[in-house]
């Protein structure tokens, strides 16, 4: 039996799953603080385009990654201003942010369509280097991939093992109660948005700088929405998000394998599989889902008066 295609699926799942996982982790933090950020798509696009542009200009991919992170945080500050300070409706705000991201990223990225960049160096994993080249080249990862699982664990630790995380989850469950116990829901939501935005930016950076190494309009093709679905899929838990992201991108990679091995299924129908899969899982978990969701998800905190 030839293991190469299967390992190929695995490797490509890791590559495409990384950006998804970063984004999902970011969204987990948003949602744990009570903010449904469905506009991830726009943030991803702005981060991906600006990170890519900086990489082209400076020739330094690390600078690009940093830019993407900061842009993610900044985009979310706009969102924070609307939904936290101005207490605007979350769904409308994030959709507005999404449209904004579509437009802004197109302008930022326009001069750089088709540009070549220095990508992040790929590090080989010790122990795997003894394998034949064909195999070991499948498992040479850049630092963003290597860091993603430690970061997921870090997010878990941050949310569940620190005082700050407790405060954040408290705000997500009931902002009023959190306020009564001496926490500042506004500040915590801003912090959550900034941190989550930076993680989203990392995901975008991996997508444009390390994985595809190019920029094109709407290149995220629904990744932001998938991340939102994955957050629910993983029941708002950073560690389960790892499994979710891997499963999901594995399904996508498997579909590519099917296509390349000559199975006659329309690629358009295969494209729908991930979404239908997510929906199926949501239905299967429907009954228990309510207990996992932060109770004041999507609600606007009106303040103390």
């Amino acid at each position: 039996m030839n293991w190469l295609p299967i390992l190929g699926v695995f490797s490509s799942a890791i590559f495409s799953g990384t950006s998804l996982l970063y984004t999902t982790l970011g969204e987990t933090i948003h949602q744990r603080s009570g903010i449904v950020n469905l506009g991830l798509e726009g943030i991803l696009l702005v981060s991906a385009s600006s990170g890519f542009a900086v990489t082209v200009i400076s020739g330094n991919p690390y600078l690009g990654v940093l830019t993407a992170m900061i842009m993610g945080g900044v985009m979310n500050m706009v969102m924070g201003f609307l939904v936290v300070t101005r207490r605007a409706n979350q769904l409308a705000s994030v959709l507005a942010l999404m449209f904004f991201g579509f437009g802004l990223s197109a302008i930022i990225g326009k001069p750089y369509v088709g540009a070549k960049i220095n990508t992040l160096p790929k590090l080989s994993i010790p122990g795997l280097s003894s394998l034949p080249l064909l195999y070991s080249s499948l498992f040479k990862f850049d630092f963003l991939i290597i860091l993603v699982i430690p970061i997921a664990i870090f997010v878990w630790w941050l949310l569940f093992k620190t005082r700050w995380g407790l405060g954040l989850r408290a705000v997500g469950e009931s902002a009023d109660t959190a306020f009564a116990s001496g926490r500042n829901p506004f500040l915590i939501r801003y912090q959550a948005l900034f941190l989550g935005g930076m993680l989203t930016g990392l995901g975008a950076a991996h997508l444009s700088i390390a994985y595809t190494m190019r920029w094109s309009e709407y290149m995220t093709s629904g990744k932001g929405f998938i991340a939102v679905a994955l957050v629910i899929f993983s029941k708002w838990h950073p560690l389960r998000a790892i499994v979710g992201a891997l499963l999901f991108s594995g399904a996508v990679a498997f579909q590519l394998l099917l296509q390349s091995s000559g199975v006659q299924i329309s690629p358009f129908l295969l494209d729908t599989i991930p979404y239908i899969l997510t929906l199926t899982v949501l239905i299967a978990w429907g009954g228990t889902r309510k207990h996992a969701a932060p109770a004041s998800l999507g609600r606007v905190y009106q303040g103390s008066e």
């Binding site: 769904l91 409308a92 437009g103 197109a106 358009f268 429907g286």
Partner: protein, 351 residues
């Protein structure tokens, strides 16, 4: 006498209120123009000239005005597709997907029954469009009524599925011999008639008709009352014996059917052909319009008109100054940001 005075006072207050809100609206428009002007400046365009161009291309000429109406029609309909479910507390973000499915089924009708005369084919296409959109909305509505999955997330997921299904049919079966991404042009009988020697077509009347029905149902019928009761307080409505689940499913389906009309009339009227990925966010725009106007019929009309000016103007800007199409999105988003950020001042204490 006292009574009369009171009336006068009330009227004065009303006038003041209207003047005040007009002033605020003007302020908002100014802020948006300023912000967008800065973006235009940064990308190396003359903002004042651009604004002049936008004005002459939209409200400044009969042709421009007709183009605004053309752009307004579909988003007015998709806004209604969101506004109706929102009255029973359902958040239908799925206008985009429902529109695609409506367009898909309507196209099937147009291609299969192309020998029918127009008086039979057009109603059939619209009906098929309604079925397509309605069935697509049935999924989230039914799942919601079972208490399994929140309709927001279902509609969002299905939004990503529907365009793929359309692409599947277009690329796989329906494409014309020349181009793979679109169907052959529809027969004349499958085209909505155009009006006033312009690109405005009959769907404008669908939009206005639907708007009027929506207004009437919400205001003067038992259904409207019950729907508002459910939207206001589902628990109380349930205790009063209203069939919540039935309303959720039916209203969601009707909303989807409305979006399906928008899809059918887009392919039958505006395009005359089904192009894969034609919508470019019409459904999302409908959501934002419905939300900005709080589902109020007159508000929907005015807001969709304003948004259409932005879209038409942005389209022109793209043609004349070589700015990417997506700039429209920035202009739209800035408008929304300003509305969202100022919202509480408009609304006073209401949350």
């Amino acid at each position: 006498m006292l009574h009369k005075d009171n009336h006068k006072k009330q009227r004065n207050q009303a006038v003041k209120k209207i003047l005040g809100s007009t002033a605020r609206y003007l302020m908002m428009v100014l802020i948006v123009l300023l912000l967008f002007g800065i973006i235009l400046l940064i990308s190396g365009k003359d903002p004042i000239q651009s604004y002049k161009d936008i004005f002459t291309a939209t409200l400044g000429s009969a042709y421009g005005f007709s183009e605004v109406i053309v752009a307004m029609t579909p988003i007015l309909i998709t806004a209604l597709a969101v506004a109706l479910p929102s009255r029973v507390g359902l958040i239908n973000v799925g206008g985009e997907g429902q529109l695609y499915m409506g367009a898909c089924l309507a196209t099937w009708g147009a291609l299969t029954f192309d020998t029918l005369p127009a008086w039979a084919l057009l109603p059939l296409m619209i009906l098929l469009g309604m079925i397509g959109g309605g069935l697509w909305a049935f999924i989230p509505g039914y799942l919601k009524s079972l208490g399994l999955v929140n309709e927001t997330i279902t509609t969002l997921l299905l939004n990503s599925v529907a365009p793929s299904i359309v692409s599947f049919f277009v690329y796989g079966f329906w494409h014309s011999p020349m181009e793979t991404n679109k169907t052959p042009n529809f027969v004349p009988a499958a085209r909505l008639p155009t009006l006033f020697n312009s690109r405005i077509d009959l769907s404008l009347f669908f939009a206005i008709f639907l708007l009027a029905i929506f207004w009437y149902v919400m205001r003067s019928t038992r259904w409207g009352l019950e729907m508002r009761a459910i939207g206001g307080n589902p628990q109380a409505a349930k205790r009063n014996g209203l069939p919540l689940n039935k309303y959720w499913v039916v209203v969601m389906c009707v909303g989807g059917a409305i979006a399906g009309i928008a899809g059918a009339s887009q392919v039958s009227g505006y395009y005359g052909v089904l192009v894969a990925g034609f919508s470019r966010g019409l459904g999302y725009m409908g959501f934002l319009i419905s939300w900005m106007s709080f589902g109020d019929p007159i508000g929907i009309f005015v807001t969709s008109f304003i948004v259409s000016i932005i879209v038409t103007g942005g389209n022109l800007l793209q043609l004349t100054s070589g700015i990417p199409y997506a700039v429209i999105n920035i202009l739209l988003a800035l408008t929304l940001f300003v509305v969202l950020a100022r919202l509480k001042i408009f609304e006073g204490k209401k949350t």
